[in-house]
């Protein structure tokens, strides 16, 4: 990144802390992805093989996260389950964010009829129960990964669009937007170059929050058979299964919970780090930098 190059070589303490959060986030998410992608190498057991004599065991050196009600190793299930959960939730998140950003931006920037129309759709979507929509999609289009994505995206874009629209309406009165307008910039250029940078950081923050919600709603969809089908593992459904045995063996939800927390946390750290990195006002002034130590 060019902006980074401009930063002082020494940098102050605050600056280092901010890059640190980004680095930790990236390390965390990469290790999670590596563990999940090569689950067949790292998992000590078969995730679906049932061993009734081992059921509901606590943490041990053999079973790091214990075993579930069918005696399956939870650690192995978390690793394999990550494949479904991370691919569905991350791809759903990316799609919702892109759709929400696009519609919110168009709605806020152009205003008028487009805005009125889109906002009525938003109203309808907000009043529409998620589960009912899921049922409709399942019954109409059948069960598939694509349908799961469609269901989640159709509902998920709404908060992003609303957030984006409200920021854009505010920001389009700013001098930088007006200045670009009178310099003859095309609408798409203004949206991408002037408005998007202002929208992106609150949207990133919202996205990290929404990711946790998405993981849980995907597990709820598994209930309709839209998500992962038993016995194949998935973090959300592992949590809801664990609910039943929570009083007998509370430790069985530790594994999937930890997995969800760590992946959401890592994205949070990345989001925060990116936001600070992208903030142009974080660049120190030329005269504030130590002599001749300016890079780039």
């Amino acid at each position: 990144m060019q902006i980074r190059k401009l930063k002082c070589e020494g940098g102050d303490k605050m600056q280092r802390n901010k890059s640190l959060s980004l680095i930790i986030g990236i390390i965390l998410i990469t290790s999670i992805i590596v563990l999940v992608a090569f689950a067949n190498v790292f998992a000590p057991y078969d995730p679906i093989e049932q061993v009734p004599e081992n059921r509901l065991m606590s943490f041990s050196s053999k079973h790091i996260f214990g075993t579930d009600q069918y005696g399956r190793d939870i650690f192995s299930r978390v690793l394999f389950g990550g494949r479904t959960t991370l691919t569905t939730s991350l791809s759903a998140l990316i799609l919702t964010v892109i759709l929400g950003l696009f519609l919110g931006m168009v709605s806020g920037y152009y205003g008028g009829l487009i805005d009125a129309l889109l906002m009525r759709i938003v109203d309808v979507m907000m009043a529409f129960p998620f589960m009912v929509l899921a049922l409709i999609v399942t019954s109409l289009f059948g069960i598939s990964f694509l349908n799961l994505l469609i269901t989640v995206v159709v509902i998920g874009w709404v908060p992003f669009a609303r957030l984006t629209r409200s920021i854009v309406i505010d920001a389009k009165e700013n001098t930088n937007v007006q200045a670009s307008e009178i310099l003859g910039a095309k609408s798409w250029r203004i949206m991408i170059e002037e408005l998007l940078p202002q929208v992106i950081s609150p949207v990133l923050v919202m996205a990290t929050f929404e990711l946790g919600k998405l993981m849980l709603s995907i597990s709820a969809l598994s209930f309709f058979g839209l998500g992962a089908k038993p016995p194949s593992p998935e973090w959300g459904s592992m949590l809801s299964d664990g609910k039943t045995f929570f009083f007998q063996a509370p430790y069985i939800i530790v594994g999937p919970t930890l997995a969800i927390i760590l992946s959401v946390l890592s994205l949070n750290l990345i989001g925060e780090g990116l936001r600070d990195l992208m903030d142009p006002y974080e660049i120190p002034k030329l005269e504030d930098c130590p002599k001749r130590r300016l890079l780039g």
Partner: protein, 539 residues
């Protein structure tokens, strides 16, 4: 010793944020005598407001205050005391007037409610008593119809009226010291002069000590007995008005006095400029009306303007009089409701977005807030090249004058690759001007472009604009609330009030003939001249 009202000894203010500390005020000491006006001068960011706020305990929690502040007689203020202690000092001992009076008043309350609130906080009084006292004070502060004012809400009054109401609210509590924090900065010359005269009057009548904070050394010259000059939080000069203006000791004071002198002298050179009255009209507006739909506010009513090629026209008015809306309507950022706008022989008010782009090649605008008008992620050279990127003005790279224009506006080559956050406000404004010059505009609209700048930068921008006018044959529309600034550059000044153009004044004619019927201009110019002559005499 008896007449000492306030003693400040080694006052330090430090802001602590995220573990980093920033010293806003360092080691300021002074004594304020009864009936004396001390003016604290400094550019924005020099720590003058922090100093004032420390004296009345209004600093945010992140600020650490050290030092000694003593009120007569022998009453030491604990600078970190709580609200209970402060509420006995605030209002009764020390009163404070803010820069933006309209914002300092509560929009949900009438002026009478403000008086009620203020008085009941300190005394037990009946409603009729309060009404009587408030009316008395308002009349003392030159309000003709005090009954009507008491029933109005702050937004129904003008900026100058609100400032007078604020002064009245301070006076009813009979304070010993009054702190005026940039109290006249947002006002036009006429209101500025009225407030200054009022402050002088109350200082005499109430034997009030005033700490007058300003960035404008002319205003300070008019009101103060003694002056403290602050720079970067430290005191660089202290003394009586005569001493400071006649024998300034610090380089900074010398510099600001020199710059102000230059501003006045600039005008004399301008008189060589012969304006060709026969030159073609460039912009014509007829019967233009604009009403904001959301609040029904009539921003412009029946505006008629004619601007010739190469002419410089000033638009003068208080904040909120519609001058910025006028600029936006001309360039097309706002649509007009009715009327006609002709530019360079074409009618432009009905233009759609695509057609408008052709106008942007001939007409450009520079904003007050230069820093925000530049994309903070781009390098200076990219910013200046923006018009070319968007409108494809120069086909060949060799023709591109971006670098030459940047040099012309005195941006150093080492800043070509800097981004706006790394530039000073003055540099940002010059980059914005350079960007507008890329299209070689026939008309350049400048919306309050110097009001955020200190006098040194102001002078630099002004000289730059004079060069631009000569080199590019550009007509300029200068929008400002500052008549001195307009006088030094404009050929004509139009005066706006509540969305109307009320008067027009031709500066080039020496006989000072007023085109309009009202005497506003004469009065304004008289006041400006008076301020000027008082200032120049003393240097």
């Amino acid at each position: 010793m008896k007449d000492i009202k306030l003693r400040v000894k080694k006052l330090n203010v430090e802001y602590i944020k995220d573990g980093n500390s920033f010293k806003a005020v360092s080691n300021i000491s002074f004594i304020l005598k009864a009936g004396e006006v001390i003016s604290i001068i400094g550019e924005s960011g020099s720590g003058k407001s922090s100093l004032a706020k420390a004296l009345i305990g209004l600093l945010p929690v992140s600020a650490k205050v050290k030092g000694e502040v003593g009120l007569y007689p022998n009453f030491l203020i604990n600078l970190e005391s709580d609200l209970k202690v402060w509420s006995k000092i605030r209002g009764r001992k020390i009163a404070y007037i803010f820069q933006d009076a309209q914002e300092a008043l509560n929009p949900m309350m009438t002026i009478n409610d403000h008086f009620k609130q203020t008085l009941l906080n300190h005394f037990k009084m009946s409603d009729t008593e309060i009404y009587k006292i408030s009316k008395e004070y308002l009349e003392y502060l030159n309000f003709k119809d005090a009954d009507k004012i008491l029933k109005s809400y702050p937004f129904e009054l003008s900026g100058g009226m609100c400032q007078r109401v604020c002064i009245a609210l301070c006076l009813v509590l009979k304070p010993e010291i009054l702190i005026a924090d940039e109290a006249t900065s947002a006002l036009d010359v006429l209101n500025q002069m009225e407030i200054i005269n009022l402050l002088k009057k109350i200082q005499k009548d109430f034997n009030l000590s005033i700490i007058f904070i300003t960035h404008d050394i002319i205003v300070a010259r008019l009101i103060a007995d003694r002056i403290i000059v602050m720079y970067n939080g430290a005191q660089v000069e202290k003394g009586t008005v005569e001493d400071v203006f006649k024998k300034p000791s610090s380089d900074y004071t010398k510099k600001i006095i020199y710059c102000n002198k230059c501003l006045f002298n600039l005008k004399d050179k301008r008189e060589d400029r012969v304006l060709n009255n026969l030159s073609k009209p460039l912009l014509e507006m007829e019967g233009v009306n604009k009403r904001y739909k959301n609040n029904g506010f009539n921003a412009l009513s029946d505006i008629g303007i004619k601007i010739n090629e190469r002419e410089t026209v000033g638009i003068l008015g208080e904040s909120g009089c519609g001058k910025s809306t006028l600029a936006k309507c001309i360039i097309g950022l706002e649509d007009i409701d009715s009327g006609e706008i002709f530019f360079d022989g074409e009618r432009i008010d009905k233009f759609r977005k695509k057609e408008r782009k052709q106008i942007y090649r001939k007409m450009q605008m520079i904003f007050q807030d230069a820093r925000n008008s530049l994309n903070p992620r781009r390098k200076t050279i990219e910013l200046v090249n923006e018009p070319n990127k968007y409108m494809k003005i120069y086909n060949r790279e060799d023709d591109n004058p971006a670098q030459d224009i940047l040099k012309e506006v005195a941006i150093n080559t080492i800043h070509f690759n800097s981004r706006p956050p790394q530039l000073s406000t003055g540099q940002c404004q010059r980059v914005a001007i350079a960007r507008a010059l890329m299209v070689k505009p026939k008309l350049l609209i400048c919306d309050e472009i110097v009001s955020a700048l200190d006098v040194e930068n102001k002078l630099q921008i002004l000289k730059l604009l004079l060069n631009v006018r000569e080199n590019y044959n550009t007509a300029l529309i200068m929008i400002s609330h500052d008549i001195q600034f307009l006088k030094s550059i404009c050929d004509r000044i139009l005066i706006m009030q509540d969305g109307h153009i009320v008067d027009e004044f031709n500066i080039c004619c020496e006989d000072n003939s007023c085109v309009g019927k009202m005497s506003t201009v004469n009065e304004l110019l008289y006041v400006a001249k008076e301020m000027e002559s008082q200032f120049v005499d003393k240097i």
